[in-house]
């Protein structure tokens, strides 16, 4: 067999994934922490104040990376949900369900920091603006997926039902992304563009991109950590998990 295909099959096996993710995790946490610290220093101390918003614009460095992660996490969850539904790969179910709480956390941060930013700049904590409303719907979709997953007793059946809900919710992603273009409401249009020219000065942009990288790495760290725990529950009858549960073996293997 092709070595890549072979690795893919091995990666899908829970004990192999558990060990592999366990080795990868400290590195991911370290990279996320270091790049996060650099980005925060750049954003809080080095970037100049905005000509219109003054120092308050510095909320961009937590608000925007988290908003991007809310969408990215959903895409990751839906892609894994799709794989789980079509090919019934156990690991994909686990990854999809592990990314839901992380995505919900990022979306929650986006909404709260957006509210904190809206009060001094717009004069209101909340308004039923198209972007704000679709972002709130995104949070509810995450909560729906998490709720459905926990409501069904059989874990694998629950994961498939929740994956289906996640797939239906994908329709909200373009609405979140294009809401600032389609509807002319309060939230500003996008400043940073992946393909075109960004409308932001370079000394403000690099900390933002560094923090975006840091949150991406953190997302994968959190999803791997959650997946490892979920696999322990899912496979609790298997020998490899029983070997892990024995106290002496635990310290030797982690």
């Amino acid at each position: 067999m092709n070595p890549l295909v072979l690795w893919f099959h091995k990666f899908g096996s829970p004990p192999y994934f558990y060990r592999f993710a366990g080795k990868l995790l400290p590195w991911l946490y370290a990279v996320a922490l270091i790049s996060g610290a650099i980005g925060l220093y750049g954003g809080l101390a080095m970037a100049p104040a905005d000509y219109q918003q003054g120092e308050s614009f510095r909320m961009i460095y937590v608000h925007v990376p988290c908003a991007w992660m809310g969408l990215f996490a959903y895409l990751f969850m839906a892609a894994n949900g799709f794989i789980a539904l079509v090919w019934r790969i156990k690991l994909s179910e686990t990854l999809a369900m592990a990314s839901a709480p992380v995505g919900a956390a990022f979306t929650f941060i986006t909404l709260v920091t957006g509210s904190l930013w809206g009060k001094p700049m717009w004069g209101t904590w909340w308004t039923w603006d198209a972007r704000l409303t679709s972002e709130l719907v995104l949070l509810f979709l995450y909560l729906g997926v998490i709720g459905l997953y926990h409501a069904i007793e059989d874990t694998r059946q629950a994961a498939r039902a929740a994956a289906f809900l996640a797939l239906v919710g994908v329709v909200n992603l373009p609405i979140v992304h294009y809401s600032v273009t389609w509807w002319n409401t309060l939230h500003q249009a996008q400043t940073v563009s992946l393909l075109g020219q960004s409308k932001i000065s370079a000394d403000m942009l690099w900390p933002l991109l560094t923090l975006a990288a840091a949150t991406h790495v953190y997302f994968f760290a959190s999803v791997l950590a959650r997946s490892r725990t979920a696999l322990l529950t899912l496979e609790s009858g298997k020998d490899w998990v029983r070997a892990l549960a024995v106290p002496e073996a635990e310290s030797a293997r982690v």
């Binding site: 946490y29 809080l44 101390a45 104040a49 003054g54 120092e55 308050s56 510095r58 909320m59 937590v62 608000h63 988290c66 709480p101 992380v102 956390a105 929650f108 941060i109 709260v112 920091t113 904190l116 930013w117 009060k119 001094p120 953190y218 760290a221 959190s222 950590a225 959650r226 490892r228 725990t229 322990l232 529950t233 609790s236 998990v241 029983r242 892990l244 549960a245 024995v246 106290p247 635990e250």
Partner: protein
């Protein structure tokens, strides 16, 4: 330094936003480790009960 913490008069908003960011992500990071400990503890309990039943 105090000028830095004042954030041009927006200190309350800016630092609250950063606090929310750190607190939520710290809880998110800790959750799988707490859960992992609980899962392994429960499994150990189950294995002990099974062993006790077998020897009885």
């Amino acid at each position: 330094m105090s000028e830095f913490f004042a954030m041009g008069g927006y200190a309350g908003y800016v630092w609250s936003a950063y606090t929310v960011f750190f607190v939520v992500l710290a809880l998110d990071a800790a959750a799988p480790w707490w859960q992992r400990r609980r899962v392994l503890r429960e499994l150990r309990g189950r294995m002990r009960r099974q062993a006790a039943r077998k020897s009885a």
